[in-house]
Symmetry: D2
Subunit: 422 residues, 4 copies
């Protein structure tokens, strides 16, 4: 979303000293200013993304998978209050105990919560009241960072850090959720009339992968989510992986060859969830005369044939690969190709489906306590995506990062690249 | 709602010359000022009812049966634009043709429309934009009333009149819908902290009905809906009807006697729709220590034992009557009792369930065109309620008025009075 | 079904002394032989209807509204055991206490029971075991009738009588349920290859009804269900009622005029339940080249244009009447016309939808105890049908008889005749 | 099921020369007699398993995942007719073309078919007619095997072979499906009153797995399904795997420790699908005084504490492993342990859940044509089970065999053994 006016970062500042990511939590001495800058940067980015949205826009929940903008803004704030301030800031007064129920997402260990599908029913606190809640927590977090002893900070920084990455994940959802909401409106409102999808480098050719036993997973002193560990070996068979993402032009060839009408191309579950429910094109596509248009952040626009295809589900990506007589890569193949530094368009355009189910790495243990629910409890029925998308905040993505969605979901910026066996 | 600050009418003005109802459409000469005053009164009342609600409040749709405040405000405006201005104001420019799809409710003959259960997804136009739409239409209607020839007005007034009564119906729904939305919020927001339920006169005794053949239905030169016609004869058996409404105190006795747990008291459909879904008290009631509280316009408050019971469904009213060894009156018995001028608390407290299914009167014909869909197409599976409620606008209710809801619905202010066979 | 080979009664015997209906329960002295004959006749008729069906046929439950043949045969037997033998035959040993749970239908007061939609899952007892259960109960009932004292019989006969009428109702359901099951089978099996729909007399003209106050409801010393009482007065407006039933030929004209495609002809609930679910013709109709065929007891056959239309829901009957610019009669109009002895084709062809909701007659009280659940608890959301059908057992139908179904249901032999206001 | 009287094989004959599995399809010269014996053995086993079931039992479909016995018996017969006889037996007359629609399961390429959830509605053909269909196809297959030229047989044997393994899979389903049906019957019928669950060897200790790169998948000249190929390398981390299956006694300890009540032990999807739907014990368990009973082929019996736990879903197995602080093995770890010849109780008791999602092996290609739908199109949302169960036919299971079910399913004989990281 770098090109979005509303979200355009302070480019001059960023060029001098990017505020995010912050230093490793283990770096000593602790650079308080850098952490405060990172905190302000992330908190500010959320508000920049929400800024073009009216109170009504921020209220709506357009499906069970999505959440209101207002809820995102409050939930990430609750996260800091619940896991950071409640325990680590002496004398901190909870802003409003009643918000705890409303803005817990899925942390069972943190207590009962508003049913997910009813998040859109909570009109109060209003948008403005959530802004006040955010300011209250911001002040408290900054005071904590300012005043804590060095040893106090040591305990605090790992929680602060996960809170920042957590908020960034919600920044991406905030955009994809509002796009889904706007797509339900026959008026097709624009989030940013000037918005442009970032240009792909669109290289040709393939990267060769030799048979190897490779190390997979988190391996440096920076941040990682628990699902990227333990680092472990995986056997990579010989093969090749495309440098380019699949484009809308290629996808249209699939459609014109009856791709959505041939059951033999589809997984059985996908056939029922997709074409069986009327799918005949990627998400948000609609017929436009002889061609196709699609809902974008800039409103409804003609499909750009040279852009990477997006808003396709795993089922569609898998059917496309079968139609092409090829394969989706595994998440390990993708990671090895990316580690070798050769994988163009890996980040910033579309998340790339892999044919790897989202499962625990060997010996995986979730974090203790409520934060252990962050990733581990979703390890069934989902597939891994790698890379990042045009909606991912700058500085958030990393090579070993594992994103995951159900195979029918397609409201994220999800696309694909293909691979071949040796 | 007369006691609601936000809705409090200009009492002085009303006492001098109530603006509503307007003169009969057949009165000559036509009193333009009276019609303009009525129009302004009704349009203003909608805005007075919406005034305490934030943009977020006006956005939310808390169930399929309810609509957002913003939608109500726009839909009643569309009604005037579609049925009055489009045809009868020469040179009128439709405000925005795209709103037609969004704010048509159920008039199939008026074209396709936004699916009812997705009304809450339309964040744009915003609350403020709907306000502008209302102002545009208000100006046009007033111009029409101002400028039309006498013969032009003759064609226009019947449509204007139904538009006013239509808007009043939505004024009632606006309040009951937002109460339902607020009831979903664990914070229990108050629409008007000073709100009080109007006091019932709570008389004792019964009205005796002699066997008779009575005239039923609309019978004067004032406004009526088409479902009140044709006026026709009905046989009224001898019987008695209570002067008082059933109170919360009486309802608690039913509950304490196991009323919600004894299948033999319930209609089969009601048993599954009510206790089978966990009902154990009227709508919005919640346990409060040893007693009960309920959601009101003033927020969550202890149940007032002396007030009429409300938010009960037909199934509950019917079970209560069976438990009491008595009957709900028919809509004809109610009408005859009310015509005799003897039925206290008939209006302004709670709609009163009758045991009459909502069906056509003998020889009934709906209005021609789209307005024929107003009432006639709902004549199955619903029951008639008579009277009016605390949320009904002043001047709206009349003796032959037939309200109707499905027997499981209870988000309206619905209560009951009982009757006996002779 | 008189023409069905499998069901063909012993005509000679019947002509001499029809076994059903039995004498009035109040007739003295009690004619034991007549009652035993009636019992044998009814019990035998059930078995004659089941005889063409295999064990597999008798097992299947094709939808929630239908029941397996085997269940019908056992349930009516349980009814005699539960309400007659358990209490009135000293020393009677319950055949198998476990059957009580399986074969109670909906009598809450008689205890818990197998969920209705799971009746088809009970493979044991088998068809043969149900036959043995029937024989056991038959012997016991006959012994009771044989041996009871005169005063004992006085208590027993009213229960026996309702049991016989109850079993006859299930005889009709047995046939309509198996027809529904066979209609799900692409092979379209025939229940009776020689089956013919009884010929209608198809008269022309109308019966004139003068304005009157008429007595409605049960009025002789024969059997009646509790919902036919109390006998009461109703006001009949002047009008006319057709002598003939609507035919398939007439229905085709409605279809060809777009009857299933014009929303303005339909009740709102009907539009969604019918055309909204893909209905384009009566139940069981399927396209057959340029014409239409339909599933019958004789298998799939071309639609007989001169036969009365059947398998139409209330929603369809109502839409047809609106299309024709006419009305369905009320149940009272139907009853008055039939009492005057002038209503041809009232019985033995198709049940006739009326525009009367199924409600209690004024002052209605259900029977005490479990049998009070027989009719009363269904008095919401259904419409009354009058007459009887080709599947109704001989001797069962009477003029004041009130049948009732939900307005979307159409697996019964349901048709219509029309009426006009004066 | 070896102990089942109805299924007891001819032990003497089997000891001399087991008829199944047949020789490899590549063995030359082709041993016709051995193939005919294998065919008769498998076909006969289906009938032996169906023999204790009445026509009613064979009709019922108790849930969407299950099929009627009659359908199984006919479908496996259709498989031979469709894939073997139709193409390879000159002059073969299809028994009844209409059966094609009824008994195709999910082969889209083989044409449209009876909706899965409506298999239980097909009462005709009857059980006896299916027996005749089986006999017709048996004769034709045997004639083909008898008369075909050597080169003809070469084309035929691979199809025959997959048909035999296919029928064996349905033999297992036949039993698990009827157990589910019987479990819905409050009478708890016994399939075989003398049935006993096979005794587990219940060894103690663990098998050590060293870090290795192991060959995985089909590797001999015997039969395999396409999903066991290609044979490929996998990296096996160092670890340990239990020799024993988890027992009911161990499972009770999990239950008594609140295993079904602690959300932190469960995958999120599992928490909603399992405890969220009321699960509090394995499938078919019911409280029995202070203890537990369970539905078995011998009827309802007390839970045998020393037997392996069965009828647990993946979600339950996964929660148990988390509770125990241990892991389910991967399918590769299981296969390596079994190949080393050290894995007791691997076969014949319960299928063992692994933590491997059911996915394609690297380079996997399904068979061409309709048979390519056999396995490949189910490669999403399911987990792999290894081994075999008490319901698996003798001779069917092999080490590389991959069974797969959805993680919520538990009507198969599914249990678990645990593993540890090194």
């Amino acid at each position: 979303m770098a090109a979005t006016a509303a979200l355009r970062p302070d480019e001059a500042r960023e060029q001098m000293a990017p505020a995010f990511p912050p230093p490793p939590v283990t770096a000593r001495p602790i650079d308080r200013d850098a952490w405060i800058a990172a905190f302000r940067h992330v908190r500010g980015e959320t508000e920049r993304r929400a800024a073009p949205l009216s109170a009504e826009d921020q209220q709506v929940q357009s499906m069970a998978d999505a959440s209101p903008t207002k809820w995102h803004r409050a939930h990430v704030t609750w996260f800091f209050e619940q896991f950071l301030l409640r325990e680590h800031l002496p004398g901190y007064a909870i802003y409003d105990e009643r918000l705890h129920y409303l803005f817990n997402s899925y942390y069972v260990a943190a207590g009962p919560r508003q049913p997910r599908i009813q998040r859109g029913l909570i009109t109060r606190p209003t948008m403005a009241e959530v802004t006040a809640y955010r300011a209250h927590v911001d002040r408290a977090v900054e005071a904590l960072l300012d005043q804590a002893s060095e040893s106090g900070l040591e305990a605090v920084l790992p929680i602060l850090e996960i809170g920042l990455y957590h908020e960034q994940q919600h920044q991406e959802l905030l955009l994809t959720d509002i796009l889904h909401a706007f797509a339900q409106n026959p008026l097709g409102p624009a989030y940013d009339p000037d918005w442009q999808f970032p240009a792909a480098s669109a290289p040709s050719g393939q990267i060769r992968l030799d048979r190897s036993v490779a190390w997979i997973g988190h391996d440096d002193d920076g941040f990682s989510f628990d699902n990227e560990s333990p680092r472990h070996e995986a056997l990579i068979p010989a093969g090749r992986i495309d440098k380019a993402l699949i484009t809308n032009r290629q996808w249209l060839a699939f459609m014109e060859d009856g791709g959505y009408a041939k059951a033999e191309l589809w997984l059985s579950d996908g056939w029922y969830a997709g074409p069986g429910e009327g799918w005949e094109a990627p998400g948000y596509w609609r017929r436009d005369g002889d061609g196709w248009a699609t809902m974008t952040f800039g409103g409804v626009r003609p499909v750009d044939l040279d852009a990477p295809v997006t808003h396709v589900s795993y089922y569609e990506a898998d059917a496309y690969a079968r139609w092409a007589g090829r394969f989706l890569p595994t998440e390990f193949e993708w990671e090895v190709a990316a580690r070798n530094g050769e994988l163009p368009d890996a980040f910033g355009l579309v998340w790339q489906w892999t044919r790897s189910a989202y499962l625990a790495y060997p010996g995986y243990r979730p974090l203790p306590g409520a934060l252990g629910e962050y990733n581990g409890k979703f390890m069934a029925n989902q597939f891994v995506l790698r890379g990042s998308s045009a909606a991912t905040p700058v500085g958030h993505a990393r090579i070993p990062y594992r994103n995951f969605f159900y195979p029918h979901q397609r409201w994220q910026f999800t696309g694909l690249r293909l691979a071949d066996a040796a």
